[in-house]
Symmetry: C2
Subunit: 430 residues, 2 copies
Amino acid sequence: MPENSRKKVVVLGAGFAGLNAALKLRHMPVDVTIVDRRNHHTFQPLLYQVALAVLTPSDIAQSVRTIFRGSRNVEVLLDEAAGVDVAARKVLLKSGGALSYDYLIVATGSTHSYFGHEEWAALAPGLKELEDAIEIRRRVLLTFELAERAAVEQGVHPPLNFVIVGGGPTGVELAGAISDIARLFMNQDFRHIDPSRARVIIVEGEKDILSAYPPDLRVKATQQLNQIGVEVQTGKHVTDIQPGYVMIGDERIDAAVTLWAAGVKASPLGATCGFACDKRGAVEVDDFMNPAGHPEVFVCGDMAHFMQDGKRVPGVAQPAIQMGKHAAAMIAADLAGKPRKPFRYFDKGDMATIGRKAAVARVAWPFHANLSGAPAWVAWLLVHIYFLVGFRNRIAVVFAWAWTYFTFNSGARLITGSVELPGWDAVEKD
Amino acid sequence: MPENSRKKVVVLGAGFAGLNAALKLRHMPVDVTIVDRRNHHTFQPLLYQVALAVLTPSDIAQSVRTIFRGSRNVEVLLDEAAGVDVAARKVLLKSGGALSYDYLIVATGSTHSYFGHEEWAALAPGLKELEDAIEIRRRVLLTFELAERAAVEQGVHPPLNFVIVGGGPTGVELAGAISDIARLFMNQDFRHIDPSRARVIIVEGEKDILSAYPPDLRVKATQQLNQIGVEVQTGKHVTDIQPGYVMIGDERIDAAVTLWAAGVKASPLGATCGFACDKRGAVEVDDFMNPAGHPEVFVCGDMAHFMQDGKRVPGVAQPAIQMGKHAAAMIAADLAGKPRKPFRYFDKGDMATIGRKAAVARVAWPFHANLSGAPAWVAWLLVHIYFLVGFRNRIAVVFAWAWTYFTFNSGARLITGSVELPGWDAVEKD
């Protein structure tokens, strides 16, 4: 096929969906442009380990440009879509440029939703990007440092309270990891405070944490959390977040650090393009991942509101990977003059770690099983090493995990940036 | 010796001098408090490799608290000395507290000096801390990304100019590393720009770069820099720094990124304490590293103006390490009722890398030799691995170096934070 008649595919977003679409498209006779406002793909399922200083940012992120350095038909652009002129088949870029396309893959993901309380964002960071992880790491580590300082200089032992709003997988993993750090990794580091006195509290609005998991695993998860000292408060809604504390109705909970793991909303791009969206801002797509009337546009990953067997396919890594690959496969079918196949999410299961040798896993493939405790934890380790992008990253992560496991230490316990904490005074006075 | 009669030693700063003092003091019957405004010791000689994305911050930094976790007579405080009441033997802390001491080790190091042009700091960052390295990494990597974007969207190939002000070891190492990245590591990554067209320019006010090195090594360093495309302009002074360019007298040099490696000044603490200081702010000390009239105060590392054989001992890692250890040894002598020995810097040599398999080394121990090229580079590798703090860091750095050496790739090519560059428009229009 002559170069100038090759189809142009623009991929918006280099998360799981966009990356996997491009990884498949690079072997096809098309020209691909990946647009992302970051220069790296982030392996989001391990972000919480960066936040809790077990892994380092470069362990779980890789330059998108480097991933595709050998694929001459793929180019990477550090930019952001400001909008899409779907009639003219043109992506309008924030920097002012524009990219025409024959096919468009929209995979710009999701971000935190504070349910209209944007003022909570600075007080309770969520965990979506490397910058979030570095900021959470800074706040958690700084809490212990400032407590030690208060103990030395004022002779008090300030409360070490960590409140996590939201009991989904991210909330559970953050809570477990903070508890691990406090109880296992820091117990020899301080002279005046006792890090194991840290209180870690999950506040969940539903009647159970991990609502996507089967009931027996929810119970097991709660048990394992309680065993490592994490308090789980369900059926409770946060009504206010202030520097140093959180309100649940009339009850005030002191919080040196508050983290947000409660809600996500889709990237605003779907609505900007004029596609029909659900209330989270995700684009309503048909069985072929197309928004109504646009067979040349595929919406993948968290951005897609895709219904299967009466349920919405969840906004996690596995569906995003599968959708990205399927979008590329549909383009391949077009090029080959074959009919497109509808997308179907192949559910392999879900897993969440709770702490050292503790996890829950709902295995749906290659067999059905609900695992918890050490077996689930080992399964979690293997799956996450397998899915990490980049051979170097896998080696680095295995090394970091083995080091942390055997030495009860970690190599990334760095505080960078400001050494002040919002609301520390409010906590300390208590 | 009963606990309450033990001497209290306060160490200000956890750089090479402070860390090495404390490492020795931990084995002595004294109580030690280390105060640093960062929670980590940074291995400064490798900072430029973090800035150029070969190493990751946690490879060259280690939590001070973790280093001393097993030393029950050492405590670590995240704080900063606001001043010292030398009469009352009390350190006044920024946070408001105070620490009494019997002995004080002042090792708060140095920072960039912009020779009265503080407005240049934001435009031309220097390299002293991890945050600096991350910021330089961001600017250098972003330059190539924004150039690719300009090429795609506007059909131009913007100049890729990097100006380094100052031709000491840091300036030379930064220049060589940028050239390596552009020529060797990025040559397959872009589709519209040619990274090897990067111009790297060192501007040095003296008549030679690396003025602390013997003349033949200065020549060899310049030759090796020229071979990898670095332009060396000596005897020239920067008169202005603006977004996008640098002025040398009437000559304007475009600069997508300007880096500062020209001057340092000592921490202001010496002057705050009322000690006699040289014009760089370093404390004038006697043969025992004491400021006049204060045998209980030792000033070490970059903070010390220490004369030996008519020359000032340089502000680099080796003297700092030796001074820190010697301060501890003098305290040990006091405790044992023995006379103190004067400090004498034992010069083992100097070394600076220029790029892949290129370096210069003045070896002064165990034999005398001036090395350049690959032998100097191998010597540099071995020495830096040996001196890295922490076994884990050594493994991680050896792995990262081996990976980069064989794959021409690196694992830390991350841009975090803003994706805008000051003065990019000024460069791009040219």
